[in-house]
C-alpha cells in the first residue's frame, strides 16, 4: 500500500517498511553481519528458493548532503556515476548490464544514495563487478554529466505537471525551510540544477562515496562467505569516512494555519497538511505507529479513510504518515479532492486530529491496529528486495538483528493512554502548514478570515 505515499526517495520507503511489523515468525531470517576492513558493514541473508540475488549499498550521500543552493547535486552525482568508468563508456556498461539481464542502478534518496542490483544467480559476480567498477572508478566525464543534468531538468519539468509533486516540493520547503537537509526532494529545482558544474559532481563523489559507515545488504541464492570475499575484492579501492552531519533542529511553526495556495487549472485540489515530525530514533516511534494507524495510516481501518472517503465520498486517496528517518522528518496528511470540496476535506482532517487528541481511542481500534501491525510483519519480508530494505534499516537505525523478535513487544506495550498522549504531543491542528495546489477560484481555500465549515463527525 506504500504507493499511496507519493513521496520520493528512500526516506519514505524506509519509514514505511519500518512501520510494518512482524509476529513471532516461524521462519527466522538467517542473517550474517560483518564489518569489512574499510569500515563497510555487510548484512547477508541467504535465500535459496530462487536462482537470483538482490543487493544494495547505502552510502551517506543522499540529498540531505546537498549544499545550500546546490539542491539536486546528490541525485546528479548518483546518476552520473552510472555513466561508465574511466575505462568503460556508458554505452559499453549499459550493453553489458543488459546482456546479463541484470537490473542495476545508483540513485539518491533523501537520506542515502543507494547502489543496487538484481541479477540471476549465475551472473551475480559479473554484475557486482560492473557496479563496483562505477562506484570505485566512475568516469564522471563532462559530457555525460551535462547530459544527465539536462535530463534531470527535463524530468523536473515533467514531474511538475503532477500537482501532487508541486504540493510536495512546496510543503517540504515550508516545513523545513531553506538549507535544511530535508527541505527539498533529491531532484532539486530547475534553477539549482542548472547551476551545477561537472566539478561539483566530482567533488561530491569524492567526499561522500566512502566505505566507512556504508551499509551493504544482500539477499539471494548465495553463501555469506563468497559475498564477503567478493565485496572485499571489488570495493577495496574505496577508503575513508564521511564527516558527520549535524543539522539545526527544526524551528517550530508559529500558531495558526500557514497556507500556501497555488493556482492551477486542475480538476482536483491536491492538499498536504502537516508539520515537523520525528526521527526514527525517537522513543515514541511505536506509540506513534499505533496512533497513526488509527488516524490515517491504516488504510480502510483508519478514521480519515472512513470519514473522508467511505462516508463522505470526497476522496479516492487519503493517508497520513510520519516520515521518520535519520533526522526529524515531517508529518503529513495527503489527499486529493475536487476543488469545491477542498475546505470541507481540510476541516474533516483537522476534526479527526482533534478527536484523537481529545478522546481515547476505542478498545476495538487499538486492538485492531496492534493485530495488523504485529500480524502483517511477514508480508514485509517476502521478497529479496524487501529483505534487503529491511536489513538496511536494521543497521542504519540500530534496530538490532533481533528486531523481528522484539517488534511485537514494542507494539503490544502501547496503551490507549499512550496513543492519546502522543496525539497531543505530536499533532498540531492549531499550528500547521497547508499547501493546496488547486483551481483556487473554485476551491476558495479559506485563509485569514475564514475557517472552513466544521465537518460532521
Amino acid at each position: 500500500m506504500s504507493g499511496r505515499h507519493r513521496f520520493i526517495g528512500p526516506i519514505v520507503a524506509l519509514a514505511i517498511a519500518a512501520a510494518l511489523s512482524l509476529p513471532g515468525m516461524a521462519h527466522a531470517l538467517e542473517v550474517k553481519r560483518v564489518k569489512l576492513d574499510n569500515g563497510m558493514i555487510v548484512l547477508i541473508s541467504p535465500q535459496h528458493n530462487l536462482p537470483m540475488v538482490t543487493a544494495a549499498l547505502a552510502f551517506d550521500a543522499g540529498a540531505r548532503r546537498d549544499p545550500k543552493g546546490k539542491e539536486g547535486l546528490a541525485r546528479l552525482t548518483a546518476d552520473s556515476i552510472m555513466e561508465g568508468t574511466r575505462t568503460m563508456s556508458a554505452e559499453e556498461l549499459n550493453r553489458k548490464v543488459d546482456f546479463l539481464g541484470s537490473a542495476m542502478d545508483v540513485g539518491a534518496g533523501s537520506d542515502y544514495a543507494t547502489a543496487s542490483f538484481t541479477s540471476l544467480k549465475r551472473y551475480w559476480r559479473d554484475t557486482l563487478k560492473l557496479l563496483a567498477g562505477v562506484l570505485t572508478q566512475p568516469g564522471l566525464r563532462d559530457d555525460d554529466i551535462a547530459r544527465k543534468q539536462a535530463e534531470q531538468i527535463a524530468a523536473i519539468k515533467a514531474a511538475e505537471e503532477e500537482p501532487g509533486y508541486v504540493a510536495q516540493t512546496t510543503f517540504l520547503k515550508q516545513v523545513f525551510g531553506d538549507g535544511s537537509p530535508y527541505g527539498h526532494l533529491p531532484d532539486g529545482t530547475v534553477d539549482t540544477v542548472q547551476q551545477l558544474s561537472a566539478q561539483d559532481v566530482r567533488n561530491f563523489y569524492h567526499e561522500f562515496y566512502r566505505p566507512e559507515g556504508t551499509v551493504a545488504a544482500v539477499a539471494g541464492d548465495i553463501e555469506p562467505d563468497e559475498v564477503i570475499k567478493a565485496l572485499r575484492e571489488e570495493l577495496a579501492p574505496l577508503k575513508g569516512a564521511v564527516a558527520p552531519q549535524r543539522p539545526q533542529p527544526l524551528a517550530p511553526i508559529g500558531p495558526g494555519a500557514h497556507v500556501t495556495a497555488i493556482n492551477r487549472d486542475v480538476a482536483q485540489a491536491n492538499i498536504i497538511l502537516g508539520f515537523g515530525g520525528i526521527a526514527r530514533s525517537n522513543p515514541d516511534y511505536y506509540k506513534l505507529q499505533v496512533m497513526n494507524y488509527i488516524l490515517g495510516g491504516g488504510g480502510f481501518a483508519s478514521r480519515l479513510m472512513k470519514e473522508v472517503r467511505s462516508k463522505a465520498g470526497l476522496v479516492y486517496s487519503i493517508a497520513s504518515f510520519f516520515q521518520a528517518a535519520l533526522f526529524p522528518g515531517s508529518f503529513q496528511v495527503v489527499l486529493e479532492t475536487k476543488n469545491k470540496s477542498a475546505n470541507e476535506a481540510i476541516a474533516m482532517v483537522l476534526a479527526q486530529m482533534r478527536r484523537i487528541q481529545e478522546s481515547p481511542v476505542s478498545d476495538a481500534e487499538i486492538e485492531s491496529a496492534k493485530k495488523f501491525l504485529i500480524g502483517s510483519f511477514p508480508l514485509k519480508l517476502d521478497t529479496q528486495n524487501s529483505i534487503v530494505q529491511f536489513l538496511l534499516q536494521v543497521q542504519i537505525y540500530g534496530l538490532g538483528l533481533d528486531y523481528i523478535d522484539k517488534y511485537p513487544g514494542y507494539i503490544r506495550a502501547v496503551t490507549k493512554e499512550d496513543v492519546q498522549k502522543v496525539a497531543r504531543e505530536y499533532l498540531h491542528p492549531d499550528s500547521y502548514i497547508l499547501v493546496a495546489v488547486a483551481n483556487q477560484s473554485e476551491a476558495g481555500i479559506k485563509v485569514a478570515n475564514g475557517a472552513p465549515p466544521s465537518a460532521k463527525q
Partner: protein
C-alpha cells in the same frame, strides 16, 4: 520496460503500485525452470469454479486471488466504467458485512487486500499471514454469494475522484485515453477501463447489481492461491466455502471484432502540461498468434534497458526525449496494441521524434538483428521472468492470466518459445505490423506553461500570513 502504466491500466481500489503489476504482465510469461507449473494443483468444482493452488514455502505468507472474467471489454457504450465501479462496491458490504468491514477483518488478521480492474479481468486479492488464509477464503465466498453494497452514491463519488486524479489531471494518461479511443473504433477496448466521466456519473445501483448477477458467478471465476500452506488443506477450505454458490445466467460472449486499420490516424490533445508528448499505437495480435514472441522481443530491443535502440538513439545520442518506452501485452484476450510513447524535452517537436522512431522501426524491418542483440533481449526476458517469481502475488497472477487465455501449463512454454525466435522472425513481425498505415499517433500539445511552483511574476502562488489562532482552519 513497464512504461505505459496508463495504457493497459489496472485500476486499483487504493493506491497500490500499478507498475509492479505490469512488470509481470509484460515481461514475465514463461518458466525459468522447466516445469515451474508442475506443482500446481487444478480443481474444477461442479458449479464451474476453477481453482489453482501452488505451495511456496519461502516465507510464512499466502496470496489469495479471485479473478472474475469481466472487465471493461464486457461493457456497453453508455455504461462504461461499470466493471470498475462494481469492483469498488464489492468492498461496501454484503448481507453479513458492513461497508469496509471486509478490509478491516483482513487487516486484523495480518493481511492486506485490494482489487484491480483491467480490460479483460477483475482481480480481488489478499496477501496474508499464512495462519489466517481461511479469513479471505470465507470473505471472498461471502461477497460472491451475498453482495449487498451500501452507500452507492458516495462510492461513485470516490470513483469520480479517482478519474479526476488519474486522467483529468494527468496529461500522459489523458493522451493515452484519446489515442486508444482513436485506435479502436468497434471493439470495447475503445473506452478506458475507468469509464468516460459522464457514463460513470450515470451508473446506477441496479446496473451494478445486475452486472454482479451475470458476471460474479462461480462459472465465471478463477481462484489462484500461492503460499506457505498445504495444497490439500486449501483446496478443501475453498471447496467448502464456494461449492454451494449457485450460478447466475451465462455471461454473454464479447463478439465485437476490430476491423483492420487502413491508413494512419492522428489525434491531438491540448492539455495543461510542461512538455510535449506522443503516443503511437499499432494494432497487433496477442497470444493467439505465434508472432507474439517476436513482438515481445522487438519491444525489449526497442526499449528494454539503457542499451536498447530507442534509449540509445533518443535519450543518449539525440537527446530529444526525457523518456521513451514501448509496451506490449501478449496476454490480452483480444488483439491488442503495441505502444511507443515518448515525453519530449522542452522545445523538441513531435514530428522530429516521430521521424526518428519511424527510422528505427524501418531499420528493424529492413535487416535481421544480429544474434548478440537478440540474445541480449532473450536474456532480459529470462531474468525478468525469474525476478517476477520473487513475489507470490506475481506468481499467482502469471498462473491466473495463462489459465484465462487457455491453460496455466502454457506458462512453461513462454521461455522456450522466446528462445526459438530468430532474427528473421523479428524482422518479419516488425515489417508486418509496425507500419504507418496501421498506426494511430497521439500528440500532446501543452497549452502553455504551468505556474512556476516557486511563484515568479504572475506565478499564481499566494503565500498567506498565518491565520488568527482563534479562528483556526
Amino acid at each position: 520496460m513497464t512504461a505505459m502504466q496508463n495504457i493497459t491500466p489496472g485500476y486499483f481500489r487504493a493506491g497500490l503500485s500499478v507498475g509492479l503489476m505490469l512488470a509481470v504482465l509484460t515481461c514475465a510469461g514463461g518458466a525459468a525452470r522447466a516445469g515451474m507449473t508442475d506443482g500446481v494443483r487444478k480443481v474444477v468444482l461442479p458449479n464451474g469454479l476453477t481453482i489453482l493452488v501452488l505451495e511456496n514455502h519461502k516465507a510464512p505468507v499466502a496470496n489469495f486471488n479471485v479473478i472474475y472474467r469481466v472487465g471493461s471489454r464486457n461493457e456497453q457504450m453508455g455504461k462504461t466504467g461499470l466493471s470498475h465501479l462494481l469492483e469498488h462496491l464489492m468492498f461496501r458490504g454484503t448481507k453479513k458485512l458492513k461497508p469496509e468491514e471486509f478490509s478491516n477483518l483482513i487487516q486484523e488478521n495480518g493481511g492486506e487486500d485490494n482489487a484491480f480492474t483491467e480490460q479483460d479481468l477483475t482481480d480481488y486479492f489478499e496477501i496474508i499471514n499464512r495462519d489466517h488464509l481461511d479469513v479471505p477464503i470465507t470473505l471472498e465466498a461471502d461477497r460472491m454469494a451475498n453482495f449487498d453494497p451500501k452507500g452507492f452514491e458516495s462510492e461513485k463519488s470516490v470513483v469520480i475522484e479517482e478519474r479526476r486524479m488519474r486522467t483529468e489531471d494527468n496529461p500522459q494518461d489523458a493522451l493515452a485515453e484519446v489515442t486508444q479511443a482513436q485506435a479502436y473504433l468497434a471493439h470495447p477496448y475503445h473506452w478506458p477501463v475507468i469509464g468516460w466521466m459522464h457514463d460513470v456519473q450515470g451508473l446506477t445501483l441496479a446496473d451494478a447489481l445486475n452486472y454482479h448477477r451475470i458476471y460474479y458467478s462461480p462459472q465465471n471465476a478463477l481462484i489462484v492461491a500461492v503460499g506457505d500452506f498445504k495444497a490439500d488443506d486449501v483446496i478443501r477450505q475453498i471447496t467448502e466455502s464456494f461449492s454451494g454458490i449457485a450460478n447466475g445466467p451465462k455471461p454473454p460472449p464479447v463478439t465485437a471484432v476490430e476491423p483492420p486499420q487502413e491508413g494512419e490516424r492522428e489525434v491531438m490533445l491540448r492539455h495543461a502540461a510542461n512538455l510535449p508528448a506522443i503516443a503511437e499505437a499499432y494494432h497487433v495480435p496477442a497470444h493467439e498468434s505465434p508472432d507474439c514472441f517476436a513482438l515481445e522481443l522487438a519491444s525489449v530491443m526497442l526499449s528494454g534497458g539503457k542499451s536498447s535502440r530507442l534509449y540509445k538513439k533518443l535519450v543518449i545520442e539525440k537527446r530529444m526525449v526525457v523518456d521513451v518506452d514501448t509496451s506490449y501485452d501478449l496476454l490480452s484476450f483480444d488483439p491488442t496494441l503495441f505502444w511507443i510513447t515518448a515525453q519530449m524535452r522542452p522545445n523538441i517537436k513531435a514530428a522530429d521524434v516521430v521521424r526518428v522512431l519511424d527510422d528505427e522501426i524501418a531499420q528493424l524491418a529492413a535487416r535481421p538483428v544480429d544474434q548478440h542483440e537478440l540474445q541480449k533481449a532473450k536474456n532480459q526476458e529470462l531474468a525478468g521472468f525469474v525476478f517476477g517469481q520473487d513475489s507470490i502475488f506475481r506468481e499467482a497472477m502469471m498462473l491466473g492470466q495463462y489459465e484465462l487465455i487457455g491453460g496455466y501449463k502454457q506458462l512453461d512454454q513462454f521461455i522456450p518459445s522466446i528462445d526459438k525466435v530468430t532474427p528473421a522472425d523479428v524482422q518479419r513481425a516488425v515489417a508486418k505490423y509496425l507500419v504507418t498505415s496501421n498506426r494511430t499517433l497521439g500528440t500532446l500539445v501543452p497549452t502553455g506553461l504551468l505556474p512556476h511552483p516557486a511563484g515568479g511574476p504572475g506565478g499564481g502562488m499566494v503565500r498567506h500570513a498565518p491565520i488568527n489562532p482563534e479562528m483556526p482552519l
